[in-house]
């Protein structure tokens, strides 16, 4: 799988995503056409090793794809990178016989995985769970409500955080895989958000039971530190950066185009400064994203405070700056192309989508964590 092949596949999915972005946004509908294309191109199996029939890609490839798809549709980019986060957890931690069977299906494009980590009363806090697994040693019972499951109605399988069997506290968490056929999945299905409407992140109730070997890994804290948190921050940031980059690119094409450049004064110092600021924000996020990805790939222990600080800084910075970059562009081009839905710049959609970034695993909460982490590193050692 060469970089060129991957770029070609990414373009194919992005083309479909772009074609359907207006109606999936209008109807708050899951982008089924884009998912079908992700299956057809086998990009769903991007991270599945070649020995299991996957594309054998890397986290860096996921970032490339997240940016590329984000340029077309942020919801599709989020859906894709979050699926990759789940796949990476399976690649790194699932044991046989689950491992071969599940990775084989993902590699063939037959299994889209959704993440079930939210729970009423704890927000997106990863490392605790209220609903407990129960079982007889051979099978585990699942009875779980989750207020937000992105793509839950269309997922073929779920990775679910549950309180471990016989746990003494909500902080003993297990990650369990369940195929859709093993669960009774019900949900209210009502999803009317401001933006990222095509992510179709609905509340779901999951009831069923699975063989005990479908627990992924032994220690969810470790999976969270090594896979879930880093892949979330890298994947989301890539999707946001792509969204803002696509918006900036469309604005620049418009300003460069033969018609609009007569209407805009491209010598305007205010316009030039706004374009400059917008571009700077994106180069800053891009540099931080790639730098953090290198750290995730190379660092032996991501739990160190300065490593956690870098990861959180990426998420917080990407969320703030990508939104700010598009907001700058709205000011730069004004009402017609900055505020109306039918402008080819699609700034209105990008801004609504990106407004979710600071709320998605809330920046406020990450800042509280970072304040504490900062106190744990009084020397201020940079990674």
């Amino acid at each position: 799988m060469t970089a060129l092949d991957l770029a070609e596949k990414a373009d194919q999915v992005a083309h479909v995503a772009e074609e359907h972005a207006a109606h999936t946004d209008r109807d708050a509908a899951f982008p089924v056409e884009s998912l079908a294309e992700l299956r057809r191109t086998r990009l769903l199996g991007l991270l599945v090793p070649a020995e299991y029939g996957g594309l054998g890609g890397t986290v860096s490839d996921v970032i490339d794809l997240g940016i590329r798809l984000g340029r077309a549709d942020m919801s599709v980019a989020m859906i894709f990178t979050m699926h990759c986060q789940q796949v990476e957890a399976v690649v790194r931690y699932a044991a046989e016989p689950l491992r071969s069977a599940l990775l084989g299906r993902v590699g063939e494009g037959r299994e889209y995985l959704a993440s079930v980590t939210t729970e009423a009363g704890k927000g997106g806090h990863l490392l605790s769970a209220e609903s407990a697994l129960h079982g007889d040693g051979t099978r585990l019972g699942i009875d779980r409500f989750a207020p937000i499951v992105t793509g839950g109605q269309h997922a073929d399988g779920f990775l679910i955080t549950m309180r471990s069997q016989d746990a003494d506290s909500p902080n003993q968490v297990s990650l369990v895989y369940a195929h859709r056929d093993q669960l009774d999945v019900s949900g209210s299905g009502d999803w009317q958000p401001m933006g990222m409407r095509a992510s179709h992140s609905i509340p779901l109730k999951l009831i069923g039971s699975v063989p005990a070997h479908q627990v992924v890994g032994k220690d969810f804290k470790e999976i969270s530190t090594t896979v879930f948190a880093p892949m979330a921050h890298l994947g989301w940031s890539a999707a946001w950066l792509g969204t803002a980059a696509g918006a900036l690119s469309r604005v620049l094409r418009l300003l460069r185009g033969p018609d609009e450049r007569r209407r805009f004064d491209v010598g305007s110092e205010l316009l030039l400064t706004r374009l400059s600021r917008s571009r700077q924000r994106l180069d800053t996020v891009h540099a931080l994203l790639r730098r953090t990805a290198d750290t995730v790939r190379d660092a032996p222990d991501l739990s160190l405070p300065n490593h956690q600080l870098l990861l959180n800084a990426l998420k917080i910075t990407a969320a703030e700056q990508c939104h700010a970059a598009v907001n700058d562009l709205v000011e730069a081009v004004g009402l017609r192309h900055g505020y109306l839905k039918d402008s080819p710049t699609r700034l209105e959609l990008a801004l609504r989508d990106l407004r979710s970034a600071s709320l998605n695993y809330s920046n406020d909460r990450l800042n509280l964590a970072d304040g504490r982490l900062a106190l744990l590193d009084p020397e201020v050692r940079f990674v």
């Binding site: 460069r256 033969p258 450049r261 491209v266 010598g267």
Partner: protein, 81 residues
């Protein structure tokens, strides 16, 4: 290089002292600065009804009248690929 091109170029080259513009004319030395490059680019695109590819928008293309003309000529109808 056609006459339209040299006429279009002339106002951007304030140090040319009305000398003839040849393919070897160094645009930067003759007065084209980076702020004007974008105006020149738009003037070219409007005049010829073309769009220069992103990959051509670099110092090498804007180095001489000849290198800039080559980039334009490649976009004109009937240009060889």
């Amino acid at each position: 290089m056609d006459a339209r091109f040299t006429a279009l170029l002339a106002p951007f080259l304030k140090f040319s002292d009305d000398k003839e513009i040849t393919p070897e004319s160094n645009l930067r030395e003759l007065g084209l600065d980076s702020m004007q490059s974008i105006e020149l680019l738009f003037a070219i695109e409007d005049t010829y009804g073309i769009s220069l590819p992103d990959d051509e928008l670099n110092d090498a293309t804007f180095a001489t009248a000849g290198s800039l003309w080559d980039a334009i000529a490649a976009q004109l109808p009937g240009a060889r690929a």
